[in-house]
Subunit: 195 residues, 2 copies
Amino acid sequence: MRKKDPEKQEAILHSAVRIFAHQGYHVAKMSKIAEDAGVAAGSLYLYFKNKESLLEEVIDATWEDMRRRYEHSIQAEGLSPAQKLVALIDIVFDLFMDDPDRAIIFVNEQHHLEQKGIVDFSTKKEMLLNLGAQVIQEGVSRGDFDPHIDIMIFKEFIFGGLHQVLNLWALQPEQVDLDKIRKALKPIILNSIAK
Amino acid sequence: MRKKDPEKQEAILHSAVRIFAHQGYHVAKMSKIAEDAGVAAGSLYLYFKNKESLLEEVIDATWEDMRRRYEHSIQAEGLSPAQKLVALIDIVFDLFMDDPDRAIIFVNEQHHLEQKGIVDFSTKKEMLLNLGAQVIQEGVSRGDFDPHIDIMIFKEFIFGGLHQVLNLWALQPEQVDLDKIRKALKPIILNSIAK
DNA sequence: CGCTAAAATGAACCACCATTCATTTTTCTC
DNA sequence: GAGAAAAATGAATGGTGGTTCATTTTAGCG
């Protein structure tokens, strides 16, 4: 009577993360993931239902990670809206810093699951974006931020900008120090919303 | 002795644009493109070498369009750096306004060709981004823009932000007026770089 | 009007890849 | 140590979809 090997499951996930991040979901081959993990192709299906489940596992875990980071950072007392905005930015940077491959998959590949109607991340996304909206609204109320700002557009714009810059960095993380980028972007973002 | 029908070629391109934009390159099926264009699947290969050539045709045409728009707008005399920056933003907005599907393909799908080493758009991208860099450098020199700005990071950030917002708009163009978004974004961008 | 050559067709072909499964190996329990 | 059951294997299977091609149709030319 054998038991599944947790280390083997981790190896498969680790290989999947690397290959999904570098090649994209569609181009990534199950046979390559198996090879990279050092298991037979058939073994993948002992630990994961199918290719999509593999991707879902990675993304769900990152949503959970994201949620925990938010809880720890934004709830801190005594922060001004600008400091909260900076804290939100730091969450995204830290996500990329800690695991660039997972972060890349998180921002680039989850639409594959959504497109097939397998999962619906909109609730999670809404919650996350609402948090950002609250911060901006608070800043506007206190007179720290420009009251004419369109919060919806601003959120998407900042998200897209961070996405683009961090994506480029993740492709060649050794080229530019992430903290340098972080320092360069914070004033740009704070300026853009300043009153 | 028959001749190829230019209208048929346009129909195929038109269908390809719509389907590539809405489903993405990988998920898009040649059989669906043929069906949508009202031709047999085999006919596609009379007008285009293969699936990749179809995509390349769309993107090349959009690069050409982009180049022409740049020539017409940025070369205008008497513009301040801020006005030039605004003109660059307008080019991107106009591209999406005029043909959302083509614009979406242009920003989302060209990495498929690059990934396979079929084409190299880096020269074109460099030229485009250098133009933006020149505008920012001019603004810094004149004291209009923040001298501490990291031009490279700023460019990517703005591109990514515009990309994200315009992508969302293109998915549901009837939901929000594009000019409203344009008006909302311009001050955000100009503020972000202001001295 | 006849002939030629190219367009057009759409099923067949072929390659690819996710997933399955018959068989072997291994581990856990008694 | 034997037996049972699950892991593990990796080639086979089946499905998908890009591309080809044998045949038919059509249009352009003389």
